[in-house]
């Protein structure tokens, strides 16, 4: 039977934590079929802390409440664990994180943020990580298309003539379209236009 030791943790618990860390390292290593050791970037966490939305990563103490409350884990299986992503961020496993498809699995439901005892805005921290991935050109196809539409039309999609006609038939007022001059300034000065342009240049 497990009894708490002097520091509140028994030997078995401690060793299982250690095994957990080892398993986690080897698991991600084997799943990526790495021959080389994992590269750790000790400055990475500072970069996240300085990014908009990334500031609250500093409060994460790895309790795992986020993973426990996450709906995606039930649908994605154990490929997606929020706590693990935050741990990887703090460890500086930059390449693993920014090249990972799993980084994009958060459904942004904010359940974890609601429950986090440390006030970590998890979705925003993941957002900061995704921003960094996007800067490096790692963006899921679906989001590339959305981003490109927003740069072009100021909206996530373009309205067809048929749709405009349907609005009229339904008695809806004509839709007021975005001011593209304003949108252009915003996407250029805040960086989205650059990400989209570089993404399009990379397309074969």
């Amino acid at each position: 039977m497990n009894r708490p030791g002097k520091r509140g943790l028994n030997a078995e618990t401690v060793s299982s934590v250690e095994t957990g860390v080892v398993e986690y390292m080897t698991e991600s290593a084997s799943s990526l079929r790495r021959k080389k050791p994992l590269k750790v970037d000790p400055d990475f966490k500072n970069k996240i802390l300085d990014s908009p939305g990334g500031e609250t990563l500093r409060y994460c103490f790895q309790c795992g409440t986020c993973t426990a409350t996450c709906p995606v884990i039930r649908a994605a299986g154990d490929t997606y664990m929020v706590r693990k992503l935050l741990k990887m961020a703090k460890l500086g496993l930059k390449e693993e994180l920014l090249n990972s498809e799993v980084l994009w699995y958060c459904a942004v439901c904010h359940s974890c943020e609601e429950r986090c005892p440390q006030g970590v805005k998890v979705a925003e921290v993941l957002g900061a990580l995704r921003n960094l991935a996007a800067e490096e050109g790692n963006l899921p196809k679906g989001l590339k298309a959305l981003a490109s539409n927003i740069v072009k039309f100021g909206l996530s999609m373009e309205m067809s003539e048929d749709q405009e006609m349907w609005r009229e038939v339904m008695g809806l007022p004509p839709l007021s379209k975005p001011n593209l001059k304003h949108v252009r300034r915003i996407v250029e000065e805040t960086g989205l236009a650059k990400i989209v342009a570089e993404g399009e240049a990379d397309e074969p």
Binding site: A75, K121, L143, L146
Partner: protein, 291 residues
């Protein structure tokens, strides 16, 4: 209380679900709520918030500025817009240096975020500003013997502090709207579960599994309809219902309607004016309860 609001229908609603927009405008009119359309609004910023946080926030701030210029609180009918615009509004009201950054981009176009309006989803306006009593007095017909499951959607509940929700585990406003129409809002397992909508463009399978799990819980509750208040959630449960069923090897036949259509019918607005066929191929599955 003056029931006059700036109004932004979003992009998913007018482009993919005009029936939701029509029914929203109709119920507003019937209840004496004046919706004044924003001039030249852009995307609320949510879809690309995670691609570039500053772009998302600045686009969002621009829409808020347009409402500020009108001196009106902003009414929305999409949870995505509600969440994004509310969070941006809260952040920029609180964080001066962030506000300055955003305003530097907006200034050349003559805009400035001041932080003097609020954002509200139409469903919350109905309960908090119109009030249950007036809502109840406006009802002309009731759904008799109808059982409905309601789905709020995440972005109108969380983060609860920003969205001004007492308890995101037990919200009430949508249940109240459904009850006013005479239908019974039935409880079901994991009412707060996410629809998976935002993952549709990233990983369809995960998205559909989430959709399927919820529909499965709703099926167990044996309801006559599922009522939504967000275009993304609606698309997940309505248009993706069959695909989700195939994936998780179940059978669903759950009519999904916009809350504005259910309420519109109870307010005495004719079914064809509410574009009910956008939701259900056979409107009679809902209309048979209306008396």
């Amino acid at each position: 209380m003056s029931l006059r609001y700036a109004f932004y229908p979003g992009c998913t609603t007018p482009y993919r679900l005009p029936g939701y927009e029509v029914s929203s405008r109709k119920i507003a009119e019937a209840l004496g709520i004046e919706l004044v359309d924003l001039k030249e609004p852009n995307c609320c910023g949510l879809p690309i918030e995670h691609v570039n946080t500053m772009t998302g926030m600045t686009l969002s701030a621009r829409d808020l500025c347009l409402a500020e210029e009108m001196g009106l609180d902003l009414a929305v009918i999409c949870n995505g817009c509600a969440g994004m615009l509310t969070r941006t509004n809260a952040k920029l009201k609180e964080d001066k240096s962030l506000r300055q950054k955003v305003n530097t981009v907006l200034k050349p176009d003559g805009l400035e975020f001041k932080g003097n309006i609020n954002v509200k989803h139409l469903a919350k306006i109905l309960i908090e500003d119109v009030g249950e009593e007036k809502l109840g007095n406006s009802i002309k017909k009731k759904f008799n013997g109808m059982k409905a499951a309601v789905h709020y959607g995440c972005h109108v509940l969380m983060p609860s502090k920003d969205l001004d929700v007492d308890d995101p585990d037990f919200p009430e406003f949508l249940d109240k709207i459904v009850q006013v129409t005479g239908a019974k809002s039935v409880g079901y397992a994991e009412k707060r579960l996410c629809c998976g909508g935002l993952l549709q463009s990233i990983n369809e399978e995960i998205s559909l599994r989430l959709t399927g799990e919820k529909l499965s819980n709703i099926k167990d509750a044996d309801v006559n309809a599922l009522v939504t208040m967000c275009p993304f959630c609606f698309i997940s449960y309505n248009r993706n219902q069959a695909t989700a069923a195939d994936l998780i090897e179940e059978n669903f036949d759950i009519p999904v309607v916009h809350f504005t259509q259910l309420l519109g019918l109870a307010l005495g607005i004719p079914a064809d004016e509410l574009e009910l066929t956008e939701s259900v191929s056979d409107p009679d599955v809902i209309l048979r309860f209306l008396q």
